[in-house]
């Protein structure tokens, strides 16, 4: 067993992968927690697909560089988010349908351009990630995004908590509520781009949503959820990367997300706020009627 880990750690690309995913876990943990709490889990998934055409066009125009990935993906992500918000505000369509329509167009456009351009990179690594693709520039991107994310959360945490918990109250208390919303959307796009190399465009959001959702089954404060989400994300990355090393033909993205999925299912089963909660309450009657009623969709 010890030799196995020594062998694995001898490869520079594995060392890079472990460092990169550790930084990524730190960065995506707060973003994932608020994606879940702001009920934007599916919107996050949609945004992961929405950045595809930007990355592809950047790749076709300027090659597979971090700069092209960052600029193309950022423009596509913010463009789709803004257009979806405009459609939701100015037309009869709701926000979810607007975003779903636009991300589908964006994803199809991205795959179409990638295929038509006769891409030099395999489609599989584009969609699902590759631990071999983490070069110096990618590490720099990860470090920069993580730094920007942590500083932004230090500034935005209180407004984010208030705006997520009680959005109408938040709007009543500030003259520029859109700063928090748009700021969070920019952080989401940046983190999706940072996760792209390791997890691929289809799996990038998995490391945000699954650990954060799993953490929610265990804890009842936002700081604890962010910290536990980080622990789950880090565990998923390290175990997933090891699986990917063991089975060389498997891409790293699905391996990592599968581990995160396992943690999520286990948490839903045994976490104190998961399925077992109601059984425990039935066995030990308490003075907390709301827990039962909320779980059944009835506010007491």
């Amino acid at each position: 067993m010890f030799e196995f880990f020594t062998d694995m750690w001898n490869y520079v690309f594995m060392q890079r992968a472990f460092v990169a995913t550790t930084i990524l876990s730190i960065s995506v943990a707060p973003v994932g927690a608020f994606l879940v709490l702001r009920r934007l889990s599916l919107a996050g998934e949609a945004m992961a697909h929405a950045i595809t055409p930007g990355i592809v066009i950047g790749f076709v125009v300027a090659g597979m560089s971090v700069t092209s990935l960052l600029i193309g993906g950022f423009i596509a992500g913010i463009g789709v988010a803004s257009l979806a918000a405009l459609l939701a505000r100015r037309t009869i369509l709701r926000g979810d349908a607007s975003l779903a329509s636009l991300y589908l167009i964006a994803l199809a456009m991205g795959i179409f351009i990638l295929s038509a351009a006769g891409s030099a990179i395999p489609l599989k690594s584009f969609l699902f990630g590759s631990i071999l693709g983490i070069d110096d520039a990618s590490m720099l991107l990860l470090g920069t995004v993580a730094t920007v994310t942590l500083i932004s959360f230090a500034v935005l945490l209180r407004p984010l908590i208030v705006s997520t918990c009680d959005p109408v109250f938040f709007e009543s208390q500030t003259r520029r509520p859109w700063v928090v919303e748009q700021g969070f959307m920019i952080l989401l796009v940046l983190n999706l781009l940072a996760a792209f190399k390791t997890l691929g465009t289809l799996m990038a959001v998995g490391l945000m949503i699954l650990p954060a959702a799993a953490a929610r089954y265990w804890v009842s404060t936002i700081t604890a959820q962010i910290f536990l989400g980080f622990v789950f994300a880090l565990s998923s990355c390290w175990i997933g990367l090891t699986m990917s090393y063991l089975l060389p033909d498997t891409p790293s993205g699905p391996a990592i997300v599968l581990v995160a999925g396992g943690l999520f299912l286990a948490s839903a089963l045994v976490g104190p706020l998961g399925f077992l909660r109601n059984y425990r309450q039935a066995a030990e009657p308490s003075d907390k009627p709301a827990m039962y009623s909320i779980s059944h969709g009835r506010a007491s």
């Binding site: 908590i161 997520t164 959005p167």
Partner: protein, 252 residues
Amino acid sequence: MTDVLHVRNLSLGYGHLTLFRQLSLNVEAGTTLAVLGANGSGKSTFVKSLLGLIPPLSGKYIWPDGRPDDIGYLAQATEFDRRFPIRVRDLVAMGAWRGFGLWSGLGRTARSQVNAALAETGVLALADRPLHTLSGGQLQRTLFARVMLQDAPIILLDEPFTAVDQNTEAHLTSIIDQWRHENRAVIMVVHDLSTILDHCSHALLLGGGEATHGTVQDVVVPERLVAQGYLSQGQASWMFRDLSSCGVQSHV
């Protein structure tokens, strides 16, 4: 008494739909204004417009002493995420969140203010409980405590007694009375006529495209309530007979 707000020629609505036109009124410190009307008459729209969340179709709000930095606000319970992972005391502390700065934690003064507000509303024992474990009445008491932390000269309450029992409602109305005695202006959307007659000095009746403002005795009368579609003729007859038999009268 000093006016805290002047509303002039206010018309509210959405696009081509006008809810009411040409409302003018003054709100004095130390008064409680009840906003009542049928569903869709513009009660919540009026409150949100006052907060600056919905622009008026025409007209304006004039704040004689300048718009207060903080306006106490309690939204309808449906607009609140009860599953959000925070403790009761953290929700109450939100009432003063702008005073904390970006980095600092709750100071000793703020912590004692939070505890005092929780004690005042009767939920101090629940201070460290997660929000999702509260009943509807406990949550409403907690939100009242948050309004206390705001320490605002004008307080807006949008249906504050929804999903609360009679004891809780009595306690919360006593807090509203106390705010009035502290010379704050309270504007609240409320449906219960006995609460309006007992605890409010002025009323704004919305409905039928009109807005009628005046003292409670002038506005909350069967003829007006029927004319503006708030009550049917039959409801008005038995309700006012019932209220007078219970001895409910306006306090002013």
